[in-house]
């Protein structure tokens, strides 16, 4: 098969970008992954003396969260529950035209072409996405029983790969789904209780400080998420946040 690609090219964060059009070779194999198709196009660009299209990618098996681009308006392309590296060319038709863009969000400035800066996510985690347990200070693992349903649900939240598709899909470029997945994974476990309020407040504050928008319930994030993280976690985080705020006020209001 053969396709026409309109690819966003942008030299760096400070220069304007534009779409450039490339014709793929005509032997694109339906079994290729989308990124392998781009590899083939890039090899041609290099031999023609040009600069290849830059994009983030690493594990190419849908778990590292490095890859991500908007294909025809959809983060990670048309396949549900898959990252761009798991998208295969058999999902497209011969002769199709594709528009390929980077994540677009003020929290994710473009570095080059399709590569964006997602370090904001790390800073949100640094603000409280952990349980403070010094190496060596843990009790025996079976001393903290956790019901299977609860453990499974924590795992559902923890499955987030931090790719940023939720932000790219959201009309407000909100990072609520990412933050909620991180917050709720730890908040619902017994180990996460002592720092629950502090964690929730600090992570939400950092999320706001990074310039991500608010959530207005479009649910586009859930549809775009390659790990199908549920927006229920957003509601739960909002509840945790309100409770934490109330408790914080009570602490402040208490006389010595």
């Amino acid at each position: 098969m053969k396709l026409t690609l309109h690819v966003w090219r942008q030299k760096n964060a400070n220069s304007p970008g534009q779409f450039e059009t490339y014709e793929t070779p005509d032997d694109i194999n339906p079994d290729m992954s989308f990124l392998e198709m781009l590899d083939v196009v890039n090899q041609q660009i290099i031999l023609d003396g040009g600069e290849p299209i830059t994009f983030d990618h690493d594990c190419r098996e849908g778990i590292c969260g490095a890859c991500g681009m908007v294909v025809n308006g959809e983060p990670h392309g048309p396949q549900r529950a898959a990252t761009t590296c798991q998208l295969h060319m058999r999902r497209f038709r011969d002769g199709e035209e594709l528009w390929i863009e980077p994540w677009r969000a003020s929290g994710f400035p473009v570095i080059k072409d399709l590569m964006v800066d997602r370090t904001a996510f790390d800073r949100i985690v640094a603000a409280g996405g952990y349980i403070s347990v010094r190496t060596g200070s843990a009790p025996d693992a079976n001393e903290i029983p956790i019901g299977k349903e609860k453990a499974d649900r924590a795992m559902d939240a923890a499955a987030c790969i931090g790719c940023g598709a939720c932000v790219a899909a959201c009309p407000n470029a909100s990072a609520m789904l990412f933050t909620a997945a991180k917050v709720r994974h730890l908040n619902m476990l017994p180990q996460g209780q002592p720092e629950k309020d502090r964690r929730t407040m600090r992570m939400v504050a950092q999320m706001d400080a990074e310039g991500f928008g608010g959530c207005t319930n479009h649910l586009e994030c859930e549809a775009a998420c390659p790990k199908e993280i549920s927006t229920d976690f957003i509601a739960e985080m909002n509840r945790d946040f309100v409770k934490a705020m109330v408790r914080a006020r009570q602490v402040v209001a208490k006389p010595d």
Binding site: I63, H88, T119, I131, A141, N142, P145, M155
Partner: protein
């Protein structure tokens, strides 16, 4: 040739040696710890856990990774699980049994003292991870679940669905981010280590390239810790991430660190077969699938083109169950991979290329029900279907071995320090714990053991003996060694960009991979290895004359990054073949055709090869020198491994 000393403690019973060693080690005064600068390269399980732990202790840590976030290191992709001798299942497991299994599984080519320490620490890792909130699989009563994994006859593997590596790494990453937040760790993402700085025989710094700006800068400290993973990508196609590379380890090797057992590479039996020339990487299907899936090929060559479901039961050869009745489908990785190669060599392989065998879940679905199979393997089945467009609930999976892990790596002593003072090597990047073959669910265990529980002590023991740089100011960015290292990196980058040849980096990498796979893959022989050594040398020469690296240094340039890594693989690949050539025995992942039993099983030669080989760099295009570290076995009885 010199004989190396692993500095393993030898006094007292083996169960007490690590404890005694820990007591004997020097401590750094708590108030002085912040004066020591630790340079940590890599943020996988070993790097992230070591950086976090050393920062908790009070050291001043700077941490580097090439990814955009420390959370993306390739440990994230480990699927199956992590071993620990908890004996929660009451099935007779113990520290001693895990130790014994690991030494045996490694085909008696690892150090007893190291492996025993690993088995002891395994239990602490599970405690640590559970306390961090790692959502391990649990039973209805709330206690941790286990499964049997990859050749073990006890259930000692802990797991988090098929994403155990991801969850353990996110645990270590969260600990690391906590320290970044407190300011104890300075994190430098999108920085690649390009050179090691050695001053007066001590590792004192590294040169990095900033992958956004191209800036080449030196970072100095009191010690350098490499946790930079394995070199599987020398084969081009492997289950490693695209960016995994050996540059940090290789540059250290060129600066004097010995490289041990490079020929020990693990070819994992259950991967999705290669489809076409465009293929960029191979995908592992977790070994846990072999717990319930049955491996088979048609008995007759003429049936290989028939749809699997049309081949009658009596025309199928469940070759692992037939050859190894005691272990069946759960034989260790090296044995399973070789058996797959043999049936494909006989012309009985399946799929379009004939390089594939079936992994069939029909019996498991009948026995357990589709729902149970989905609960256990759902995400793996989905992943398989994404890639192949086949539904494994209905047709058997097709699998084939692929390069997955490298047991070889930089030589280290019991303290995880290389022969270069102040250079520590952790996780897959070192060589010491898995011998010639790594057992399933042991990589995560080793990475975290090194990072959480070994290096923080042993690095401290080293630092206690040296004056901190912050007090002595003995080196600076203007020191001659530092300037020379930066100049070397700049020179290399400039040279790569100026060649402007006609072949792309990927062309060379693919050619190198083919040579390594063909001659230094699942089976090796003298003639082939000699041929490969010559051919790799020629390929390297051609690379430096004809590679095309577009763009410039001063911007994001993934082709330049790849070119630099491939130039190192072109040297490492040759050493790998050389090591395989000199090791004239079969052991673990290293199968020499000249050293086999009449039944085609691997034959070890303990008389001549019960040692680790550690190679010393002697210059470009010069023959490296092979040193040996004899391996002594006090506790484990050497025997020919048998899974029959």
């Amino acid at each position: 040739m010199a004989t190396l000393d692993g500095k393993c403690p030898t006094e007292g019973p083996i169960e007490k040696r690590w404890e005694k060693h820990r007591f004997d080690m020097k401590l750094v005064n708590p108030a002085n710890k912040r004066k020591y600068k630790v340079l940590m390269v890599g943020t996988g399980l070993a790097g992230a856990s070591a950086a976090a732990t050393m920062a908790e202790l009070g050291y001043d840590v700077t941490c580097f990774c090439y990814q955009d976030s420390p959370r993306r290191a390739h440990s994230i992709a480990a699927q199956g699980g992590i071993n620990a001798a908890k004996n929660y299942q009451n099935d007779g497991d113990s520290v001693y049994r895990l130790f014994y299994d690991t030494v045996k599984g490694g085909d008696y080519r690892s150090r007893e003292a190291n492996v025993h320490r690993l088995a002891e620490i395994s239990v602490n890792i599970i405690d640590q991870a559970a306390a961090q909130g790692v959502p391990f699989a649990r039973e209805y009563g709330g206690l941790l679940a286990n499964r049997s994994f990859g050749g073990a006859q006890v259930s000692r593997t802990f797991y988090a669905r098929g994403q155990t590596g991801q969850q353990l790494l996110l645990g270590a990453y969260s600990a690391l981010e906590r320290q970044i937040d407190t300011g104890k760790v300075e994190m430098k993402t999108r920085h690649e280590m390009m050179e090691l700085i050695v001053v007066d025989g001590r590792a004192r710094g590294i040169v990095t390239r900033n992958l956004i700006t191209g800036q080449i800068e030196a970072h100095l400290g009191d010690c350098v810790v490499l946790a930079t993973g394995g070199y599987g990508n020398v084969f081009y196609l492997s289950t490693n991430a695209m960016g995994c590379n050996a540059t940090a380890a290789w540059r250290a090797h060129r600066k004097g660190a010995y490289f041990a057992n490079p020929c020990y590479t693990q070819i994992h039996p259950t991967c999705i077969p290669v489809k076409g020339n465009y293929q960029s990487k191979l995908t592992l299907m977790s070994e846990s699938l072999r717990n319930d899936g049955r491996v088979w090929v048609p008995k007759h060559e003429e049936d290989t083109d028939k749809p699997a479901r049309e081949i009658a039961e009596e025309d199928r050869d469940y070759y692992l169950e037939r050859r190894y009745p005691a272990f069946g489908n759960l034989v260790p990785r090296d044995v399973a991979s070789r058996a797959a190669k043999q049936v494909c060599d006989e012309g009985r392989g399946v799929g379009p290329t004939g390089l594939g065998v079936y992994l069939d879940f029909a019996d498991a679905i009948e026995r357990l029900g589709k729902k149970s199979v989905e609960d256990r393997y759902g995400n793996l089945f989905d992943m398989y279907q994404h890639i192949t467009d086949d539904n494994p609930y209905e047709v058997p999976m097709r699998i084939f071995p692929a390069v997955h892990y490298t047991m070889g790596g930089l030589w280290v002593d019991y303290n995880l320090m290389s022969n270069l003072e102040g250079l520590f090597v952790l996780g897959e990047a070192n060589f010491s714990d898995h011998g010639a073959n790594r057992l399933g669910a042991s990589a995560l265990m080793q990475g975290l053991a090194d990072g959480y529980f070994v290096a923080p002590y042993t690095v401290g023991n080293y630092l206690a003996r040296v004056q901190p740089m912050s007090a002595t100011n003995d080196i600076s960015k203007d020191s001659p060694e530092v300037k020379a290292a930066r100049k070397e990196v700049k020179g290399k980058v400039k040279r790569l960009l100026e060649i402007e040849g006609k072949k792309t980096v990927d062309d060379f990498h693919r050619d190198l991979g083919k040579l390594c796979w063909e001659y230094c893959g699942m089976a090796r022989n003298e003639k082939g290895l000699e041929k490969a050594i010559g051919a790799i040398g020629e390929l390297r020469e051609e690379f430096w004359e004809n590679v095309r690296v577009p763009g410039s240094n001063e911007s994001v340039n993934p082709e330049l990054e790849k070119a630099s890594r491939v130039s190192d693989f072109l040297e490492l690949g040759e050493l790998m073949c050389r090591d395989a050539l000199e090791r004239r025995e079969s052991c673990g992942g290293h199968f020499r055709e000249e050293s086999a039993t009449a039944e085609g099983e691997a034959k070890r030669d303990d008389e001549n090869f019960a040692h680790a080989a550690a190679w010393e760099w002697t210059g470009e295009n010069a023959t490296p020198v092979r040193h040996v570290e004899p391996l002594e076995f006090e506790y484990v009885k050497l025997s020919q491994r048998s899974y029959k």
